[in-house]
């Protein structure tokens, strides 16, 4: 059976000054997503997570690759309008993503114009959407700056739901929120998904939140996916040394009984030579081959793919 969402070979280049090579922010990204499924995307700042998300919704046109939805090519920038409204993005900075001069009701109602609704139908639907994310109707007449950060986050979510999307791309939906609000937001996201067939691509550097919501996790390092696996397998048996290092760096309170896994501390990388593995400068297990040959993301079983010449052995925390 064809997967519902299928991304193949996606790449985004940022042009540089004349005469210099373009910077590849995202390269060779392949993944699939089923209806109602949540895929977590983790990695450091600058690893290309947000660029990948923006490329999927067409905010930054992808340079290479293909996005297919139900088998139909909906790659942004190719002229098709097939995915419009079906994929929606919820931005990290909810306040920055809202027009400060519009009231909450208008912010949520705006995408509904696109569905061809009249004024009163829009107002009514906006109220329903706010109720779905647990906000009272009297918020409709407030401005974004007059409500709390947690409420703004929910307004952003309500607005994204306005086009009845099939996939929500959530970029760091809980970063900057207090513990209690974070828990409430995660619970809300799970409740919205239950029974609705809504899929999530959840981008976060917080493995704890990702593990709670996502059935599968993809790990990104310097623009490439280095490991994708079911959440359980990724946490209990990471194969890529970078994934192991990410887990080892979690505060013990979050990590609990998992690990610590023996691995070098990854720091901002200068990157390897053009041919080698990008993680090689930080990898405690790197060998000669890692300097010269980039390991492709190689599928293994069960549904556990890793891009490493010398992956950690399966089934245990660390070598």
């Amino acid at each position: 059976m064809r997967p519902w969402l299928e991304v193949t070979g996606l790449g985004v280049d940022f042009p540089k000054a004349r005469g210099r090579r373009a910077l590849a922010a995202v390269s060779d990204v392949d993944f699939t997503l089923a209806r109602g499924e949540t895929l977590g995307l983790v990695g450091e700042s600058g690893s290309g997570k947000s660029t990948l998300a923006r490329a999927l919704v067409g905010l930054i046109p992808p340079t290479r690759g293909q996005v297919r939805l139900d088998g139909v090519d909906v790659t942004p920038g190719k002229g098709q309008d097939g995915a419009r409204g079906r994929l929606q993005m919820v931005f990290q900075d909810a306040e920055g993503a809202m027009n400060p001069r519009l009231r909450v009701g208008a912010i949520v109602a705006e995408p509904l114009r696109w569905r061809g609704m009249g004024r009163s139908a829009r107002a009514h639907e906006a109220e329903t959407l706010l109720a779905r994310v647990g906000l009272p109707r009297d918020l409709m007449t407030r401005f974004p700056r007059e409500i709390s950060g947690g409420q703004r986050q929910r307004v952003a979510l309500a607005r994204a739901m306005a086009t009845a999307p099939e996939l929500l791309i959530l970029d760091e939906p809980t970063s900057g929120l207090d513990v209690s609000l974070q828990a409430r937001t995660l619970n809300l996201l799970r409740a919205l998904q239950e029974g609705s067939g809504l899929s999530y691509l959840l981008i976060s550097h917080d493995l704890g939140s990702v593990a709670y919501l996502a059935a599968r996790i993809a790990v990104m390092y310097l623009g490439r996916l280095v490991e994708t696996a079911p959440t359980e397998a990724l946490i209990t048996s990471p194969r890529h040394p970078y994934t192991a290092a990410l887990l080892a760096a979690l505060p013990p309170l979050v990590r609990g009984a998992h690990g610590p896994v023996a691995a070098a501390r990854p720091d901002k990388a200068a990157g390897a030579g053009p041919g080698g593995c990008a993680y090689q400068p930080h990898c405690p297990y790197a060998q000669a081959r890692c300097h010269t040959h980039r390991p492709p993301l190689t599928p293994g079983r069960p549904a556990h793919a890793v891009a490493c010449h010398y992956p950690l052995p399966p089934g245990g925390p660390g070598p």
């Binding site: 700042s45 209690s180 828990a183 917080d206 493995l207 709670y212 990410l246 979690l250 309170l253």
Partner: protein
């Protein structure tokens, strides 16, 4: 100031706002020892930052501070003139903030910004000043300090910017560092690295750290003392180990339970805390947490529980069992 004095002793700190009958920060007392990290935790709006700025900083217009004791490295500061206080702050206090980009001047190089602090507070000039600036960048583990001195903030990563701010904060060898959400904007790996660096600096120099955060996991990893604030009051204060093994205040316990840990991944829902935290000045004659607390009874709704205890202090009539 003697080398043996605690970095900070606070007794009865209260901050009032003009026109409000009840204080925003109420009767807060704690000590930050030499080389110790005290984590001040709580939700947005609970008064963490106001406590920190109320301690030593100039307050915003309309706010007023009172305290029985505020001793910075052995120096009593209550009653000092603003001029004397400014001198003491320059000598004994360093601060780092949440957003390193807005705390740095985008149009000056790091060298110019660190140099300015050193010139004002140590009077250094020329080559010795440059050497000292490079030494500071090396202290905060910025690779290739010479090159970093010539860099502008936008040329550095978020983590490097926060290190640069830290270098400025420790330029005058402060006895107390106030770090207000220093890592909130950074990703997990870098957060850990910055906190580990702050802990090393504290251990090497005896500098005490007041670490303001809502990140309990980081507090658990790096703090020696945990101070939990709710609606303008301290509700629990304890050595970190005792706190994380057995928090006594129901609010503390609820905060810990709400953390999305790896172990919680299979939970059907995370136990969040129902309702909203009240404003500090809105609650009189009751425990501010009573409305959200599963253990609250009539007593909790009619009296403010005092913060009591010896090393492990908590403000609750019906505390959780100690473990």
């Amino acid at each position: 100031m003697s080398a043996q004095d605690p970095a900070l002793v606070v007794e009865g700190l209260t901050v009032r706002a003009q026109g409000l009958a009840h204080p925003l920060v109420h009767d807060v007392s704690f000590t930050v020892g030499r080389g110790e990290i005290a984590a001040l935790v709580g939700e947005s709006g609970c008064g963490k930052t106001l406590t920190a700025s109320g301690l030593l900083g100039p307050l915003a217009a309309g706010l007023q501070r009172t305290a029985r004791v505020i001793r910075l490295a052995g120096n009593e500061i209550t009653g000092l003139s603003e001029g004397a206080l400014r001198t003491l702050r320059g000598r004994a206090l360093g601060m780092v903030f949440q957003n390193p980009m807005s705390a740095l001047n985008p149009s000056l190089t790091l060298g110019e910004q660190i140099g300015e602090v050193l010139r004002v507070h140590t009077g250094a000039r020329g080559a010795p000043l440059e050497r000292e600036a490079a030494r500071l960048l090396a202290c905060v583990e910025i690779p290739d300090p010479e090159r970093a001195l010539a860099s502008y903030p936008h040329q550095l990563s978020g983590g490097m910017r926060q290190r640069a701010l830290l270098a400025i904060a420790i330029a005058c060898a402060p006895r107390l560092l106030i770090a207000d959400e220093p890592t909130t904007a950074l990703d997990v790996l870098v957060q850990s690295q910055i906190l580990a660096l702050i802990a090393r600096l504290g251990a090497q120099t005896g500098m005490g750290v007041l670490f303001i955060t809502h990140n309990l996991a980081l507090a658990a990893q790096y703090a020696d003392t945990v101070l939990v604030m709710y609606a303008g009051r301290l509700v629990e204060a304890a050595p970190a180990q005792a706190f994380f093994q057995g928090p006594r205040h129901p609010y503390s316990r609820a905060l810990l339970a709400a953390l999305p840990t790896l172990a919680a991944r299979t939970a059907h829902r995370l136990p969040d805390i129902p309702g909203e935290a009240p404003a500090a000045h809105a609650i009189v004659n009751a425990c501010a947490f009573a409305a959200r607390c599963p253990r609250a009874d009539a007593v909790c709704r009619s009296q403010v529980p005092p913060l009591s205890g010896d090393t492990h202090r908590f403000a609750c009539f019906h505390p959780e069992e100690s473990s």
